[in-house]
């Protein structure tokens, strides 16, 4: 856990301490066996005979044997049942908490939709049923054209989202509608996590399987962390604050500051900027609504329009950090730095390969929660470092008069241009 972050929800993830439960049960098992021994001893023997009857008479010997048998049966036979109880209890507690988070996020979604909804229309049942909306992944047994099919399905999904938001929140402007979509996404994610965990809890109870509970219990800290991240993300979305994932758009909008912008692909704006006598096409999703746009499509169109005469493509994105790495650390590499399900990344890689354009990636490290919640100061500072790095790289790796593309990838919520 990051030190000094002081978030109670982060602590909740580590407040499941399974060993404490086990330890406690061990103590109780031994006390109960001692207790029952005393009960039996006191029933049969004269008072004061003690914990371990020492007499030579038959009853003492029998009692000692009974005691040993009882103790071992407790440890050997009921051990697994007791373990199931312990794990089941942890999972049950987590499920209650997940249900609470899912309910709260639904209420939060309803509250933020209500602002833009028409009066006298009940949106509750519509929103509740929409939270179960699903997308079936395309078949990949025949992988030919799978990304085209996936893109088509993702377009469908986005259209359905837009139509739904337009229907329930007709008063929302473009930015508010985009934010509402993000709010619904977060509520859907929480709803899904809760349902899956509940499924395994009930399955474990039905089958009395220790392994189901153990596996679930082991993953709980990560599951809870993810759920907390989505829950906090939703609050950030409803306020329209910029999120950590907005690093790419932030860098792009800083570069295109003061320049005329035009829309070049779905929800993507572009500006021409002069950097050390090179012509840079800077692009980002159109803010300040929570949009990702189609940066792959935009890069492809730009490159095709110029007949492939692009010296380099720079991509800026947020990247998940490993524990131990610092938030806001800027790292360089090669490749298409974009975390989409595939289609956009594919387009960029394809067009770069076709015209043999080098792909430079510059990423800023952050964890899932930081990517989904309000942008931290470290990340804002990282954007300045990235701009310096891009400018330096352009001077070092391209010639004067060259054309470069700089793509700021990410969710542009709270970041205009």
């Amino acid at each position: 856990m990051p030190r000094g972050s002081g978030k109670p929800q982060k602590l909740a993830a580590i407040s499941y301490i399974p060993w404490l439960g086990d330890f406690k049960l061990e103590i109780n098992i031994s006390t109960i066996s001692i207790l029952l021994n005393i009960v039996v001893v006191n029933m049969v023997n004269p008072v004061g005979q003690g914990l371990f009857p020492t007499g030579n008479d038959l009853s003492s010997i029998i009692l000692n044997i009974l005691w040993v048998v009882f103790f071992f049966s407790m440890i050997l036979l009921f051990n697994q049942r007791l373990q199931i109880w312990t794990y089941q209890r942890n999972v049950e507690k987590a499920t209650i908490k997940l249900q609470m988070l899912a309910d709260k996020s639904r209420e939060e979604a309803l509250k933020s939709v209500q602002k833009y909804a028409q009066e006298n229309i009940d949106i509750r049942s519509q929103v509740t049923s929409f939270l179960d909306f699903f997308t079936i992944e395309p078949v990949d047994r025949d992988p030919f054209g799978v990304l085209n099919r996936l893109e088509h399905l993702l377009d469908n999904r986005r259209d359905r989202f837009k139509a739904f938001v337009a229907q329930i929140a007709p008063k929302a402007g473009k930015a508010e509608a985009a934010n509402t979509e993000d709010i619904l996404e977060a509520a859907m994610a929480l709803n899904f996590i809760f349902k899956v965990v509940r499924h395994y809890l009930i399955l474990g109870k039905k089958t009395k399987s220790l392994m189901i509970f153990v596996q679930l219990d082991m993953q709980l800290p990560l599951i809870m962390k993810m759920a907390e991240a989505y829950f906090n993300a939703q609050k950030t979305f409803s306020a329209g604050k910029p999120i950590g994932d907005g690093l790419g758009p932030l860098v792009a909008s800083k570069l295109m500051f003061g320049q005329p912008k035009r829309v070049i692909a779905e929800d993507i704006v572009c500006s021409e900027v002069d950097i050390s006598n090179r012509k840079a096409y800077v692009l980002k999703a159109e803010g300040p609504g929570g949009l990702l746009g189609k940066p792959g499509e935009a890069v492809k169109r730009l490159v095709e329009d110029m007949g492939g005469k692009v010296a380099r493509i720079f991509m800026v994105d947020a990247s998940s950090k490993l524990e131990g790495e610092n938030t806001g650390e800027v790292v360089e590499g090669v490749g298409a730095a974009i975390g989409d399900p595939g289609p956009e990344k594919y387009k960029i890689e394809e067009v770069a390969t076709k015209y043999k354009i080098p792909l430079d990636a510059i990423v800023c490290k952050m964890d899932l929660e930081e990517a989904l919640t309000t942008m931290k100061k470290e990340i804002v500072e990282a954007s300045e470092i990235i701009i310096e790095k891009i400018k330096k790289a352009i001077v070092e790796r391209t010639k004067e008069g060259d054309v470069v593309i700089i793509a700021g990838i990410g969710n542009t919520i709270g970041i205009g241009q």
């Binding site: 000094g4 972050s5 002081g6 978030k7 109670p8 929800q9 602590l11 909740a12 580590i14 407040s15 301490i17 404490l20 330890f23 406690k24 103590i27 109780n28 031994s30 006390t31 109960i32 001692i34 207790l35 005393i38 009960v39 001893v41 006191n42 008072v47 004061g48 003690g50 914990l51 209890r89 507690k93 209650i96 908490k97 609470m100 306020a239 329209g240 604050k241 910029p242 932030l250 909008s253 500051f257 003061g258 803010g287 300040p288 919640t373 309000t374 942008m375 931290k376 100061k377 990340i379 804002v380 709270g414 970041i415 205009g416 241009q417």
Partner: protein, 122 residues
Amino acid sequence: MQRDRKPKFAIISILLTFGAFILFVLATIVDPLSTYSNILMVAGLALLAASWGVYFIGGRSLQRAEVATENVITVIGCKGCDIREERPFSEGDYVFKEVGPCKKCAGTSYIRAIYAIPIKKD
């Protein structure tokens, strides 16, 4: 906070069990006490029951206090000069939003950055 609360319950529970354990041992080892062994046993049982009760009920308190965990700052700058101003975030703010004329010069002021600073606790 929750993290402090849970182990507290667990510790109380363990202490109660330990008390019961000591009672049972005393009842069997110390001779004069053995006359009251039945009473001691009931007392020990009560302690054990209390211990389990504390452990199970104590663990059930899941509600989390809703507290603001971050301080969101909006930084305002100007296109014409190098004025820099900070204020708390208010809804509707976004980066590069123009927020009227500058106080110092004739330029337009705009939001330069929005970021969160964690609130240090304790």
